[in-house]
Symmetry: C2
Subunit: 520 residues, 2 copies
């Protein structure tokens, strides 16, 4: 095992990506193409090549932590550990930056051309090696533009290529999206205009009036409130869009653009696999948590748990995927059925009645089995073993453009979404103490520890620390990773109550929230 | 106004349905065809023809209540009022039954043939005129079969045909669905079998093994928990389905069958319009709340509000509908765009940037307007004025098979779903007092009163009643309808704080929950 790791490390050190050796599904754009970026660990860890090599020990599984707390803003804590052997390299990646969104100068480059010069937008730590005072006042808004804080976790599969690329570039796509609405976001005196460069228009055009008049309305609107004599207020004027919605839209489209870039650049680079993405952005007093995949973020405030993300898996997205398979049956390639069954149907069962559910159902019913029900179910398996087309256990993220069902030409990407769900937490609405934190973790953490166990672990760790020790959040992250990994016994990795520890890559941020209040 | 009502009433009394006179969108299957059932008010109200005529007074808007409490099980309260003129007749309908699901005798009729003999399944009150002791012990399970309690509200639009038919037949479709799983539901000793008439099979067939082996799994399963040496537990065996899931599936399919029956029978009957459906079924200790539309049910327990349904409207189902329009653009008939804009786009705005959102987004962003963005948005309007294709303000329910966009051949039915969302409340898990109730109401109630106002109104009414007075729940329902309707002033119907009262039909059940515990 160690040999395999060493050879993998040696090969990436030479600039050639070894890929995920035990995974049959990798269909990288071209293993002969150069890597866009070499394999790495998060820059803010500041690891040497030797340290990276040692970190990939699947037997010792050393827990890596931040060497210097001021490497990350807000005294954020971070810790990670490699998997127990499921892939040669650690397929998790992380990125944390404080980013300046610059105003576009007059006569500036178009957004597409800006792509090459965007890195200038970042603050000095954009090489990951700068330092922060935990309470330094990074002015959120100055003549130069707008500053946001950015924490991100990427969990790769079928190779680390997509995760590495996304960890290097996603925040730059966010910059680009925010740049387009920069002046609107900083002008809190008025709502975002419906049309750029126009006064708000509160009167429907004659064309709109005709369209609305010709279409009679069923239910509700026609004279609904009031007496029979009240004329119906027929003309819906204009939806008011809040600033917050523009930030959400910017994050959504940044994910889309990142995915498009990966697809495009696969023609010239070897970008293997796919990755989930969990991003936290702090902008103008609010935390935006954007999640595409099965990582998770929770806020622990005064001991209370506030979930701020939901996971996207074959089970949680079953109905969306079945609906797509039903609407576009050619995507199933004649090999899969969009119906769900509790297990594979056997040929001898044709004509019998079996439990099933369709995309419209959350309950189950019996149907008479027909020949086409012998196809493999689009969604199959339970819990962590649930898969789309027997292949992939996560339904949102970036990459996977060439992913196919084994030994077939059936593409899986149409069933995957690159769009995150974005939740908003208004930091300014609450007073946060030193033990109030946001915990971000990849599924390696949450597979073995519940929200309650994580909150209990973090809270009881922090209360025993010196509140002035800024390193406490990294120590808490280390403690959390240790509890999720466990210790290696004869029967494998074990955690409390002799449960199995996580054999997956585990990466954790612990972000204290009190600094967010201080910076406004 | 009164004249129009009288003529409408006269015409339905003669057995010919007048239809909804102020609605241009009605495309009834055939106004010359006979009605399947005549217009009616809920049978349990026991109204005479004269009383029905008087109830349709859009000026007086008399509140109708149960004359005799024992007409409904559990001393359920009920009250209703007609709209302020938006349609000639009250398009709400209601049905409440205690139903026996009989075992199918050996050599029984097939389900389809049973349709004609199903009414025998109901208990004596199936004509709506029987009486109940509030605490009578209807044995939930006897040698004859299984008993369930059933409360339903239907809110019609574009005519009352679909609502009348569904109020007469939906519970019989539920009977038929439950009959198929009757013996499984009553055998709590073992889980529902995956295949009927077989022992559970816990070992995958050789075919399944091959299928699972050939498809390598990305993410999670492969050796995830445990040491590198742990062989992956690759073979997912069989999903365990709970009894509760079969009831949910039965309700879902009963709605589907009801909708299919309406579609089929439109060829021979005049079944106008469509309707929302809110159903509460009490079976084997659990309340199942099935909702398709914008009615609502809440439980008030010890003063606390527990929502037990969610509404389905163009806004709440925006992403599903946009996704469908995107996947099947021919359904938009070249006249609509699946994109959402804050208002109609004007021709002069082509080339400018305007706010939009796609099916993947909850936030908003700017896009450059193109010619095809001039099409009318699939989803348009806000709140109660939101519409699908400028036509309908509710996205789930029964009927509407012939509904088309005005002056076009574009069908709206593909965007509507007949499937309910089913939520389960385990009555046996809690002790319920005399003031703990489930409130069901059509949107006429909830448009003007919040959950909190309804709970406050009901709770403060009930505490002032004699707890032994079984009529208290009907009196509370009457009070609630009165507060939502308000009183007619010069400026129309007004409720507290001089707000507008509801001009819509309003129907309300108040179901005390303590009787559910007593019957087990």
């Amino acid at each position: 095992m160690l040999t395999r790791v060493k050879s993998a490390v040696a090969s990436f050190m030479g600039g050639i990506m070894a890929g995920s050796s035990n995974n049959n599904n990798e269909r990288s754009g071209g293993p002969d193409l150069p890597l866009k970026y070499p394999y790495m660990r998060p820059k803010f860890l500041g690891l040497s090549a030797d340290e990276i090599e040692c970190s990939a020990d699947h037997i010792a599984r050393p827990i890596l932590i931040l060497k210097e707390t001021r490497r990350l803003p807000w005294a954020t804590g971070y810790a990670e550990v490699i998997n127990a052997g499921k892939s040669a390299l650690n397929e998790d990646q992380a990125c944390c930056e404080v980013v300046l969104v610059k105003k576009r100068p007059i006569g500036s480059l178009t957004p597409r051309k800006l792509a090459t010069s965007r890195r200038r937008s970042s603050l000095p730590n954009s090489d990951g090696m700068g330092t922060f005072e935990s309470n330094d006042c990074v002015c959120p808004q100055d003549s130069e533009g707008l500053v946001f804080h950015y924490w991100a976790l990427f969990d790769g599969h079928a190779g680390s290529g997509a995760a590495v690329v996304a960890s290097r570039l996603l925040h730059q796509h966010i910059v680009e999206q925010l740049q387009g609405v920069l002046e609107i976001l900083t002008n809190l005196a008025s709502l975002p205009p419906t049309v750029l460069g126009e006064e708000p228009n509160h009167h429907p055009s004659p064309g709109t009036q005709r369209a609305l008049t010709r279409a009679a309305s069923l239910r509700g609107a026609t004279g609904a409130p009031g007496s029979p004599c009240t004329p119906p207020t027929r003309f819906f004027v204009e939806k008011k869009i809040q600033h917050e919605s523009l930030v959400i839209g910017a994050l959504e489209n940044a994910f889309k653009e990142m995915d498009a870039q990966i697809e495009k650049e696969k023609a010239i680079y070897n970008i293997s696999g796919g990755c989930t993405v969990l991003v936290v952005v702090f902008l103008l007093g609010k935390l935006y948590v954007a999640n595409a995949g099965d990582s998770r973020a929770i806020i622990i405030r005064n001991g209370e748990i506030i979930p701020v993300s939901t996971e996207f898996t074959p089970e949680s997205e079953r109905q969306r995927l079945q609906f797509l398979g039903f609407m576009q049956p050619h995507l199933l390639g004649g090999e899969f059925t969009h119906l769900e069954f509790p297990r594979r149907v056997q040929r001898k069962e044709v004509g019998k009645k079996m439990l099933y559910r369709d995309f419209t159902m959350t309950g189950w019913a019996y149907k008479t089995i027909e020949d086409e029900d012998l196809r493999f179910p689009l969604i199959y398996g339970e819990g962590k073993k649930a898969r789309v087309m027997a292949t992939i256990g996560v339904t949102r993220g970036l990459g996977d453009h060439d992913l196919k069902v084994h030994d077939s030409n059936i593409c899986i990407k149409p069933f995957l979404s690159c769009f995150p769900e974005v939740k908003v937490y208004n930091l300014t609405q609450y007073e946060h103490g030193a033990d109030d934190v946001l915990v971000m973790g990849t599924d390696g953490l949450w597979d073995v520890l519940s929200n309650e166990e994580v909150a209990e672990t973090v809270t009881s760790f922090l209360v025993n620390c010196d509140p002035d020790d800024l390193h406490r959040y990294t120590m808490a992250a280390q403690d959390l990773v240790m509890r999720a990994r466990g210790v290696l016994r004869d029967q494998g990795w074990r955690i409390s109550n002799d449960r199995l520890g996580s054999g997956d890559d585990i990466s954790v941020y612990i972000i204290p929230l009190m600094y967010g209040n201080r910076q406004l």
